[in-house]
């Protein structure tokens, strides 16, 4: 138990003392999660919209596949991405292995199904009358998409926040693709895994608190978007 208390104190120390390895990990985490969230929202929103808005054959099967993608283990994604970007892989030339960009690609694969699935189910819940109203007001396809998404913004926000939590806390991809290289690709979560393995549980707790603090700040700023 005492290591939890110790962790709280340590967390404050780490941040105040400006411990360079902590801060580089913080920045790496922020950079990589921002990148992967932008990518996964950019791809997941439109895909989720299409899946939720239109009725077409095979839609249910697509949903099942998407739901299954929610259960892609991070290590699996990590391995798959590794297979492509390792020097022997087809994209080896690009030098993405052991880079933050590589991690972001993997995390995008992780977050995409969350954003898409929750967007789809939120869009599905849209009142049929909304669609009719938009058409009768002369909205073109682009406006229909934008307005529908805006109408259900709270639901989509929930999806994005969930995906963000997933991305922020994953270890498998960061470890496998990033390599947990100190001062380079070490993120907070890989650092936690390392400290825990070392038996330095208090450090693990401290770093976890740092991560939670990041999430808290992000969610606090998002809360202004919420229903008043």
């Amino acid at each position: 138990m005492d290591f939890i208390v110790a962790g709280f104190i340590k967390a404050i120390e780490l941040l105040i003392s400006g411990d360079s390895s902590t801060w580089t990990a913080v920045w790496a985490t922020i950079k990589v999660s921002t990148g992967s969230m932008l990518l996964s929202i950019g791809t997941g929103l439109p895909c989720g919209f299409l899946l939720g808005y239109f009725d077409f054959k095979g839609k249910k099967h697509l949903r099942t596949i998407l739901d299954t993608m929610l259960a892609l283990p991070t290590v699996f994604i990590g391995l798959a991405v590794y297979a492509f970007i390792s020097h022997q892989g087809p994209l080896g030339e690009m030098g993405l292995l052991f880079t933050l960009t590589g991690i972001a690609i993997g995390q995008t694969i992780l977050a995409f199904p969350i954003v898409a699935a929750i967007t789809a189910s939120t869009i599905e819940s849209i009142d049929h009358d909304l669609k009719l109203t938009l058409i009768t007001l002369g909205a073109g396809k682009r406006h229909i998409i934008a307005t529908c998404l805006w109408e259900v913004r709270y639901g989509i926000l929930a999806g994005a926040v969930t995906a963000y939590g997933r991305v922020l806390t994953e270890v498998g991809i960061s470890m496998m693709v990033g390599g947990n290289i100190k001062y380079h690709t070490r993120t907070i979560t890989t650092a936690i895994a390392l400290e825990t393995n070392k038996g330095l549980f208090a450090n693990g707790i401290a770093l976890g608190l740092v991560l939670i603090m990041i999430a808290f700040i992000v969610n606090l700023s998002l809360s202004f978007l919420r229903k008043q």
Partner: protein, 252 residues
């Protein structure tokens, strides 16, 4: 049945090489004690013992073990086997260290700024590596560009080294495993070996009953005894991967 089961914390190397999967059934058959183990970093293994969550430890970090006993957490340190560490690197030996002794080799690596992977995870291996730098008179190159700390397991670190065309220090067991995965034609070769300081000693520790009254001290001793027994030592000697011996028994 409950009293006849034992929980062990050990390091990943004993598990990853398959030694325990090979050895433990013999132990269970001979003593009727069932043994479960969790394989983690040495640091965490020691911590689990300190918190009395396991009954016995099989680890390889002699200085840390001694300190551990001094702190009153462990008892009965019994050396059971060893293997050795080697420095591996690209076949073309960019830092020209082949055949050198360990301190010279590390100095050469430093002066050539040749890429070197450190596990950086406080594991037994990592602690040994830190000791080697110290012995070579080099301050730990924590923030040097060429000194890459992976914070991962041995095999992952070797893989990083291969991707980066760098050097690393590894135990021989893992290296053999790595070689076998590369189909016997690994890009990284052994460049430095044989120094006595490169010995990697494994020991069994029981927990001090004063710290952990509930730990099964008696059964733990039995395990310790069994590991040191002739039978077990022979089994260890016979454990081979790709025809190569991984561990050398040295129980006294």
């Amino acid at each position: 049945a409950k009293s006849k089961s034992l929980m062990m914390a050990t390091t990943t190397s004993t598990d990853n090489t398959g030694l325990l999967d090979y050895l433990i059934p013999h132990f269970e058959k001979e003593t009727g004690i069932s043994l479960k183990w969790t394989a983690t970093g040495t640091g965490k293994a020691l911590k689990l013992g300190q918190n009395c969550d396991v009954d016995v430890l099989l680890v390889h970090a002699p200085p840390a073990e001694k300190k551990y006993i001094k702190n009153g957490y462990g008892k009965d340190r019994r050396q059971v086997m060893y293997n050795d560490f080697v420095i591996i690197g690209p076949e073309n030996d960019p830092a020209v260290i082949k055949g050198k002794n360990i301190s010279d080799a590390l100095n050469a690596i430093k002066s050539k700024q040749a890429v070197f992977m450190s596990r950086g995870d406080d594991s037994g291996t990592h602690k040994k590596e830190n000791l080697l730098w110290k012995n070579a008179g080099i301050q730990l190159p924590d923030k040097e560009k060429w000194y890459v700390q992976t914070g991962q397991g041995m095999l992952a670190t070797i893989n990083v080294a291969q991707e980066r065309n760098g050097h690393t220090m590894t135990d021989r067991g893992t290296y053999i495993k790595y070689q076998s995965q590369q189909g016997g034609n690994a890009p990284l070769k052994v460049l430095v070996e044989g120094d006595s300081i490169l010995l990697n000693q494994y020991s069994v520790l029981t927990l001090d009953p004063k710290n952990c009254p509930n730990a099964k001290y008696g059964l733990a001793l039995k395990f310790s005894d069994w590991m040191a027994s002739q039978n077990a030592q022979n089994l260890i000697k016979d454990f081979r991967l790709l025809g190569k011996r991984l561990f050398t028994p040295n129980a006294k």
